[in-house]
C-alpha cells in the first residue's frame, strides 16, 4: 500500500495493477547483452517497494506493489514481450481455439512449485475456481467473469454461490485443460498473463494464512523467509526453475518497503538500494544528470482523462461538439511539463503508446491545442447551461493542481465560469455520480490489466461496464458495442486489432472522456547493477538483473 507515491498509482482510478511474468524472451537488446556479457552470477541487491495491500495471493492482488513481488515468484501461462508487449507463451506449450470460445491450453513439462509439487492443469483450474468464487472475496474476481459458469460462482449481492467449480473449466489430463467462455473473446490469450491467472499449489488450500505471508509459486524466485511487514520481503533464486534462459542471475533480492519516495531515492543515492522504479517528483529535475544512462524514462500504460456525466447531465455534456471544444481548449503540453515536470506526456489516443494497436496522433484535431477553434466550436454548439463547467477531483491523490490548470484554461479559452469540487476519495465521486448528486465533469484515469486495446475500451466505455465496470459517465453507443463484439469474435488477434481500432475511432469521434495525459515510468539504478529493464507495467525483470 502506498500513500504518498502520487507519481503512479494513487493517481490512477481503476488502477488495477498488472501482471507480467518476469520475461525471458530476450528480444530486448539489453537482455541479450546480458546473456553473453561479463556479468557476475550471484550476489544480492535491494530494490524499492511499497507495502503490498493484501496477503500475497495472486487472485487477490490487484495493486502494483504486491503484483511486482508475485511476478518474480510466479510464472504465468503467458508472458509479454518487454518491448512490443505481444503475448508469448511461458508455462503454456500452446493456447489454441478454433472459434475464440473454447480454448485448449497445453502445459510445458518441468515447471514445479517451490515446494516440489508439479505444476499441472489442476493447479490452474483450482486457482481460477477459487478466484471466481465470491465467497472468497478475491480482488481478481472480475477477470473470471468471461468464463462459462462464472455467474454461478458469483451470483451477486445477498446470494450464495450454487457451486464452487466453474462450468467452463475442464481438466483433460495432467498437462491439458480446456476453457469454455460464455461468449467468444479473441483476446483471451492476452488476458492469461495477468496476476489473477497464476496457478496455485495445494499448500495454499491447506493453509491460506501461511501462504499469504510466504507464497509458494512456480517462478524464478522463491520466498526467503516470511514477509516482514512494513520492512522487507526477501526472495532468493529457485534452483529448479526449468527455463534455461529464465533462471535468476542474482542469489537474492530484497524488496525494501518504503513509505516515502524521497527516502527511497536518498537510499538509492547512497547505494543502500540498487533500483527504484518510482522516483519522487522532487528528483525529476536532477535525476537525468545524476544517473545518466542509468535513468530510465518511458511511457507506461496509464492514461489520464477528464470524464463527463453524459447520462446524468446531457444538457451540459451531451453534445460531442461541446466535449471536443473542451478537449481543444486544454493545453496538454504545458500541463504535463509545468505541473507534472515531465512525469506525464500529452495523450493523443485513448490507448497508451505501449499497447499494440496504438496509433500516434489518432485523436487528430481533438487533441490539438487550438483556443480559437475551440471557442468557435463551443459557441456554435450552444455552450453549457449557466455558462458554467464544474470539475470534480479526489483531493487525496495530488490532482488539485492540474485540474485547476485545466479549469483556468477553459475559463480563458472558452469564456466559461469554472467551479471546482474536491472529493475526499475517488469512490465518493462515483457514489455521488451514481446518486445524481453530482453532475459535473470529473477526473479519471485508467491503467491496463493486460496489454490489449480491448482493455482500454470495454471496461471504460461499454454498456456492461456501467453496472460492472468503470463506465462512470454512462456512455452508450450501439455502433461502438457492435464493433466491439465483432472484434471479440474475430478469429485472430490481428483481425481483432483492426476492429478494436475502429471502435477506438468511434470513441475519438464521440469523446465520452477526454484523454489528457499518459503516465511515464521513471526508474533509476546504481552503478553496481546492470541489465535493468522496466517493462510496460512498470515492473523490473529481476531474473535478468546482474551485478555489474
Amino acid at each position: 500500500m502506498r500513500l504518498t507515491k502520487t507519481m503512479r498509482w494513487t493517481a490512477l482510478a481503476a488502477c488495477t495493477a498488472l501482471a507480467i511474468s518476469a520475461c525471458s524472451t530476450g528480444s530486448d537488446k539489453k537482455s541479450s547483452d546480458g546473456a553473453n556479457g561479463s556479468g557476475k552470477k550471484g550476489g544480492s541487491i535491494s530494490i524499492e517497494s511499497g507495502e503490498p495491500q493484501h496477503g500475497l495471493v495472486p487472485q487477490n492482488t490487484a495493486e502494483s506493489e504486491g503484483a511486482q513481488v508475485l511476478a518474480q515468484l510466479f510464472a504465468g501461462l503467458v508472458e509479454y514481450d518487454r518491448k512490443t508487449n505481444e503475448p508469448g507463451l511461458r508455462v503454456a506449450e500452446s493456447i489454441e481455439s478454433p472459434d475464440s470460445k473454447v480454448w485448449t491450453i497445453k502445459l510445458k513439462d518441468g515447471y514445479t512449485f517451490h515446494n516440489g509439487e508439479k505444476v499441472t492443469a489442476q493447479s490452474f483450474v483450482d486457482a481460477w475456481n477459487w478466484g471466481a468464487n465470491q465467497d472468497n472475496a478475491a480482488e481478481g474476481l472480475p477477470f473470471f467473469s468471461k468464463i462459462e459458469g462464472a455467474e454461478e460462482l458469483a451470483p451477486g449481492k445477498d446470494k450464495k454461490p450454487a457451486t464452487d467449480k466453474l462450468k467452463g473449466l475442464k481438466v483433460v489430463d495432467d498437462k491439458t485443460f480446456t476453457v469454455t467462455l460464455a461468449a467468444p473473446f479473441s483476446q483471451f490469450k492476452i488476458m492469461l498473463g495477468y496476476t489473477a491467472f497464476y496457478p496455485l499449489p495445494k499448500a495454499f488450500f491447506q493453509d491460506r494464512k501461511a501462504f499469504e505471508e510466504a507464497p509458494v509459486g512456480n517462478g524464478p524466485f522463491q520466498m526467503d523467509g516470511k514477509w516482514q511487514h512494513n520492512q522487507q520481503i526477501v526472495i532468493k533464486r529457485y534452483e529448479n526453475f526449468p527455463e534455461s534462459d529464465g533462471k535468476a542471475k542474482l542469489d537474492s533480492v530484497t524488496f525494501k518497503i518504503y513509505d516515502k519516495l524521497e527516502t527511497a531515492y536518498n537510499d538509492l543515492r547512497a547505494n543502500n538500494i540498487q533500483i527504484t522504479n518510482k522516483l519522487p517528483i522532487s528528483a525529476m529535475a536532477t535525476v537525468a544528470q545524476e544517473f545518466g544512462d542509468r535513468y530510465i524514462y518511458k511511457p507506461e500504460s496509464g492514461v489520464g482523462f477528464i470524464g463527463f456525466p453524459i447520462a446524468t447531465n446531457p444538457a451540459a455534456y451531451g453534445k460531442p461538439e461541446i466535449r471536443k471544444a473542451i478537449s481543444m481548449a486544454i493545453d496538454r503540453e504545458s500541463i504535463t511539463k509545468q505541473i507534472f515536470s515531465g512525469t506525464r506526456i500529452p495523450a493523443d489516443d485513448f490507448i497508451s503508446p505501449i499497447i499494440p494497436g496504438y496509433r500516434k496522433g489518432a485523436m487528430g484535431d481533438a487533441a490539438k491545442y487550438d483556443p480559437a477553434k475551440a471557442k468557435q466550436l463551443f459557441d456554435t454548439a450552444g455552450g453549457v447551461p449557466n455558462n458554467t463547467v464544474e470539475l470534480g477531483y479526489n483531493a487525496d491523490g495530488g490532482h488539485k493542481e492540474w485540474i485547476e490548470a485545466v479549469g483556468n484554461q477553459l475559463k480563458k479559452n472558452l469564456g466559461v465560469e469554472v467551479t471546482f469540487k474536491p472529493f475526499e476519495k475517488f469512490g465518493k465521486i462515483l457514489d455521488e455520480l451514481g446518486a445524481k448528486q453530482y453532475s459535473g465533469a470529473f477526473r479519471m484515469a485508467w491503467q491496463m490489466d493486460y496489454p490489449s486495446m480491448e482493455n482500454y475500451l470495454r471496461p471504460i466505455f461499454s454498456k456492461v461496464a456501467i453496472e460492472n465496470g468503470s463506465n462512470y459517465g454512462g456512455y452508450v453507443n450501439e455502433q461502438f458495442e457492435s464493433v466491439l463484439s465483432q472484434a471479440d469474435q474475430a478469429k485472430s488477434q490481428e483481425e481483432g486489432l483492426k476492429l478494436y481500432q475502429q471502435a477506438d475511432d468511434i470513441l475519438i469521434k464521440d469523446l465520452p472522456y477526454i484523454p489528457v495525459y499518459t503516465y511515464m515510468t521513471s526508474a533509476a539504478y546504481t552503478k553496481t547493477v546492470k541489465n535493468v529493464v522496466v517493462d510496460a507495467q512498470n515492473r523490473i525483470d529481476l531474473a535478468n538483473v546482474e551485478l555489474a
Binding site: 449481492k157 527516502t263 537510499d267 543515492r269 547512497a270 543502500n272 465518493k428
Partner: protein, 314 residues
C-alpha cells in the same frame, strides 16, 4: 503510596473507555467506506463488497458494532483489520520500533537539553547562554521535516558518498541496529530538546536565587554540589512534567519522522490506517497510546515525591 497508585489506575479505566468510544465514533464518522478504500480507486465487484461487509459486520448499527468491539476487547481480542491481519500482531510489530525511537529521543532530550539549559543558566548573559538561546530558537522555528530531510541528505547520503563514512543509515535498517535510531531520534527530539533547554535554564535561574541555595553556598558547599543537589533537583520538577507529557507525544506523534526515515512504527501505521479507514487498528493503537500517556503521567506524579520529599500522596 500504594493506595494512591491503585486509585489512579481505577481512575484511568473510564478515561480509556471514553477514549475508545470517542475514537471509535470519530473513525465511524469519517467519510469514505473502508471496503471501498481497500480497492484504491477501482470499483469493486458488488458481491465481493457484500461478502466483506458481512464479514466485518459493517452494516450493523454503530452501537452494536461498538459493543461487539468492546466485548472483544475485554476478552483481550483487539479484532482484525479489513485485510485479515490481527490487530494485536500489527501492534506488536509496530510498537517496539516506536518505543526504541521514543526512548532514544527522550534520552537525547534529557542529556543534551538539560545540559545545555544548565550551562546557559550558570553562564547567564554570557556568550554560551546566547548560543543556546539562539540555536534553540532556530530549532523551534524550523519545521521537523526540513530538519529531517536535511540531516538525512547531509549525514546519510553525503557523508557516505563523499567521505565514505557509512555511520548514519539513510533509512531504518535492522542490521545497523541502534545507529538506525540516532538520526531520527535526534530529529524527533529536536523541538522538545529546545524547549527542555529553555525550561531548564529559566527554572534553574529561578531556583538559584532561592534562599536555601544561598544558604548552601554560605555553608561553603562545593559549587557542583550546590548546583546538582540543591539547584537542579528542585528545578527539575517542571522539566520532568514536560518530559513525561512529551513521551506520549513522541510515541504517537512520530508520523513525520517515521515517514522520513522509513521506520515501520506506530505513527507510520496510524497514518496508513487513517487513510485506509482501518477502524480496529486506529482504535487499538490510540487506546494503547492513551494508556502510555496515563502511565507516563502516573510516573511523573510519583517522581515528584522523589525530587521533593515534601510532596505526599493521599
Amino acid at each position: 503510596m500504594g493506595r494512591y497508585v491503585v486509585r489512579r489506575i481505577i481512575q484511568a479505566i473510564p478515561v480509556i473507555l471514553g477514549a475508545t468510544f470517542l475514537i471509535y465514533a470519530l473513525v465511524f464518522l469519517l467519510p469514505g467506506d473502508p471496503i471501498t478504500a481497500l480497492a484504491g480507486e477501482k470499483r469493486q465487484d458488488p458481491a465481493v463488497v457484500q461478502v466483506l461487509r458481512d464479514r466485518y459486520h459493517l452494516d450493523d448499527p454503530f452501537f452494536i458494532q461498538y459493543w461487539d468491539y468492546l466485548t472483544g476487547l475485554f476478552k483481550g481480542d483487539f479484532g482484525e483489520d479489513y485485510r485479515g491481519n490481527q490487530v494485536v500482531d500489527v501492534m506488536r510489530r509496530a510498537f517496539p520500533y516506536t518505543i526504541n525511537l521514543a526512548l532514544t529521543a527522550l534520552a537525547i532530550e534529557m542529556v543534551v537539553g538539560v545540559t545545555a539549559g544548565v550551562v546557559a543558566a550558570l553562564r547567564r548573559g554570557k556568550f554560551i547562554d546566547n548560543v543556546v538561546l539562539i540555536s534553540t530558537l532556530m530549532v523551534i522555528s524550523i519545521p521537523v521535516f526540513v530538519i529531517g530531510f536535511v540531516l538525512q541528505l547531509l549525514l546519510g547520503v553525503k557523508l557516505n558518498t563523499d567521505y565514505g563514512i557509512d555511520f548514519f543509515p539513510v533509512s531504518f535498517n535492522e542490521e545497523a541496529g541502534f545507529r538506525s535510531y540516532l538520526l531520527p531520534g535526534y530529529v524527533l527530539a529536536s523541538t522538545s530538546l529546545a524547549y527542555v533547554a529553555r525550561l531548564t535554564r529559566t527554572s534553574l535561574i529561578e531556583v538559584m536565587r532561592a534562599d536555601y541555595v544561598r544558604t548552601a553556598v554560605a555553608k561553603g558547599l562545593s559549587p557542583l554540589r550546590v548546583v546538582v543537589r540543591h539547584g537542579l533537583r528542585n528545578a527539575l520538577i517542571p522539566i520532568v512534567t514536560f518530559l513525561g507529557m512529551d513521551l506520549g507525544g513522541l510515541m504517537g506523534g512520530a508520523v513525520i519522522t517515521e515517514g522520513i526515515f522509513n521506520i515501520p512504527g506506530v505513527g507510520h501505521q496510524l497514518f496508513q490506517s487513517v487513510y485506509l479507514r482501518e477502524r480496529t487498528i486506529i482504535v487499538g493503537i490510540v487506546s494503547a497510546l492513551v494508556m502510555v500517556y496515563l502511565f507516563a503521567n502516573l510516573v511523573v506524579d510519583l517522581l515528584y515525591a522523589v525530587l521533593d520529599p515534601r510532596i505526599r500522596y493521599e
